[in-house]
């Protein structure tokens, strides 16, 4: 037993993070980032490797979080303490997995119906209150003033505008009547409100995506420092060399897949 313990300890010691590992980490991070960016030039093996690593590593991270933060404290430890009532949800949960075995896949229905029934029962009244009643209430709320005066005329105007636009958009999505006459006019106005929404969303999406890119560039800049022995520069150079080589080999073979 002690022998096994020793083996484990020396194995675990391999995983100690030393300063050298931190520098190496910069190389790994810069390498993976640039491999994924290389997709912008064209689809290539490095991108594919990094992409598949991403899928695996993502699952691995989730797996260990579930293992240490859910299964251990919520299932294993209570069972050890003799709380056998957790067996019911555990079995229902494990039943989900039978889905992958066609012969007994019906067992998974017990777990699924248990989840779906509960979720559906919760969501119905909450949707009615949050997305239905409160939205009607919110639309008419600006009219709930003790009197109409110059002080609240702006909020009244805006409120009218919201209510008007809201109804027009609803007409656009109304499928039970032909779009003719007044209905057509209303739905045509509705689409302009939708366009303003989409335009604002477009503008914000630009900022969002650029922010993510900024985050990656910021990291790459960090790894291009001398502390990391110019990891970014070197990796980038290697990748460019690969593409040049690739192109030379391909052109000798007489063309290849046209990138775009």
């Amino acid at each position: 037993m002690e022998f096994l313990g020793n083996i484990w300890n020396s194995f675990a010691a391999l995983f100690t993070v030393t300063p050298g590992w931190m520098t190496f980490g910069g190389w790994v991070a810069a390498g993976l980032t640039i491999c994924l960016f290389s997709f912008l030039y064209k689809d290539n093996p490095f991108f594919k490797v990094a992409e598949h690593l991403y899928l695996g590593a993502g699952m691995g991270w989730l797996f260990q979080v579930y293992l240490f933060q859910t299964w251990k404290p919520k299932v294993f430890l209570p069972l050890m303490e003799g709380q056998y009532s957790v067996l019911i949800p555990t079995l229902l949960g494990l039943s989900l997995v039978t889905q992958f075995f066609p012969r007994i896949s019906w067992i998974s229905r017990y777990g699924f119906t248990f989840i779906m029934g509960y979720g559906s029962g919760l969501v119905i009244p909450l949707t009615i209150s949050t997305d239905f009643l409160k939205q009607i209430g919110g639309t008419i709320a600006p009219f709930m003033v003790s009197e109409i005066n110059s002080g609240n005329i702006m909020s009244l105007l805006n409120g009218t505008f919201v209510a008007f636009g809201f109804i027009c958009v609803l007409f656009y999505f109304f499928f039970s009547v032909e779009h003719k006459g007044a209905v057509k006019k209303a739905s045509n106005i509705g689409i302009y409100f939708l366009m303003l929404y989409f335009g604002a969303a477009f503008g914000n999406t630009v900022m969002g995506r650029f922010s993510l890119l900024y985050g990656r560039f910021d990291d790459l800049y960090k790894y291009s420092a001398p502390d990391y022995f110019y990891a970014t520069h070197v990796v980038l150079g290697l990748l460019v060399a690969y593409f040049i080589l690739d192109k030379l080999v391909l052109s000798r073979r007489g063309g290849g897949q046209e990138a775009h």
């Binding site: 404290p73 509960y118 900022m207 922010s211 993510l212 890119l213 985050g215 990656r216 560039f217």
Partner: protein, 275 residues
């Protein structure tokens, strides 16, 4: 002329990629240093709400974002925690997104070193483990949180912690904030804020920010921090400039590039059509 324009319109898109790389990388190497002004109304509302909470109020911070949205949401979370701890509020960090646990560790490491070194774990803040079923957890938050959060992320019982004193459900908390790149905030609005009449605010990515307009107008959300601009605004409000502020500065040139590109290409189109 026409031919040249047409060719210019069908330019290899990798040249455009290159232009973006240069315009975004340059300000990182050499910041423009433009001031971030014109703070958003919804961000100021979050700030004021926290500012007006009585001391030692409990703030529930649900950090539900993963590394994919880190640059936008992490600065928001850091700024909010700084503000709450400086105001001497109690902070409970929750998460319903398994990818967020690493981000939370990052914050946990920073609190004793630079965010608020004088604050004590278990007295001023607590970090809860990840839970897998958002709707079940949210429903339970309004009844009795100890039935699900009986232990913190290190396995210590939460009930006796000083930070949890007098807190049994969201009814005993001052404010809830959900920072997320997914639809988790929508769930919080329906399952916690509306159901248990609990004040909630949010921090979201720029992509999903416009979608929360209706909830803000009805007051279902007390405020909203949107994207990197929101993070920069919040950093300005708490007078502690960090990644959000430097980020929004760096985005300046790239934003102008997009506008220039859209306008140029459409002018070329018009010229090609009518000339």
């Amino acid at each position: 002329m026409k031919n040249a324009l047409e060719k210019f319109l069908k330019i290899d898109r990798r040249l455009i990629f290159l232009a973006l790389t240069v315009l975004l990388f340059a300000p990182i190497v050499r910041p423009l240093g433009l001031p971030n002004k014109n703070l958003g109304k919804d961000v100021v509302n979050v700030y004021n709400y926290i500012e007006n909470l009585p001391e030692r109020s409990f703030v529930m911070l649900s950090l539900d974002y993963d590394p994919a949205t880190r640059p936008e949401l992490h600065p928001q979370a850091v700024a909010l925690i700084k503000h709450a701890l400086r105001r001497n509020l109690r902070v409970g960090i929750f998460t319903l997104n398994a990818g967020a646990t690493g981000m939370i560790e990052d914050i946990a490491a920073r609190i004793p070193s630079d965010i608020a070194p004088d604050k004590v774990y278990g007295r001023d803040y607590v970090i809860m483990p990840f839970q897998p079923n958002p709707v079940a957890v949210m429903t339970q938050l309004g009844i009795n949180i100890y039935e699900i959060y009986d232990k913190d992320r290190n396995g210590n019982p939460t009930k006796d912690m000083e930070v949890m004193k007098g807190v049994k459900s969201v009814k005993d908390m001052g404010l809830g904030i959900c920072i997320t790149g997914t639809a988790m905030l929508d769930y919080y609005v329906a399952y916690v804020a509306d159901k248990y009449k609990f004040p909630m605010a949010g921090g979201v990515t720029a992509v999903s920010q416009p979608g929360y307009g209706p909830y803000l107008q009805t007051g279902q959300l007390k405020g909203l921090i949107g994207g990197m601009k929101g993070a920069a605004d919040y950093e300005t409000l708490i007078k502690d400039l960090e990644k959000g502020t430097s980020g929004i500065d760096a985005l300046s040139l790239a934003h102008v590039l997009v506008i220039v590109l859209i306008v140029t290409s459409n002018i070329i189109m018009l010229v090609l059509k009518y000339l």
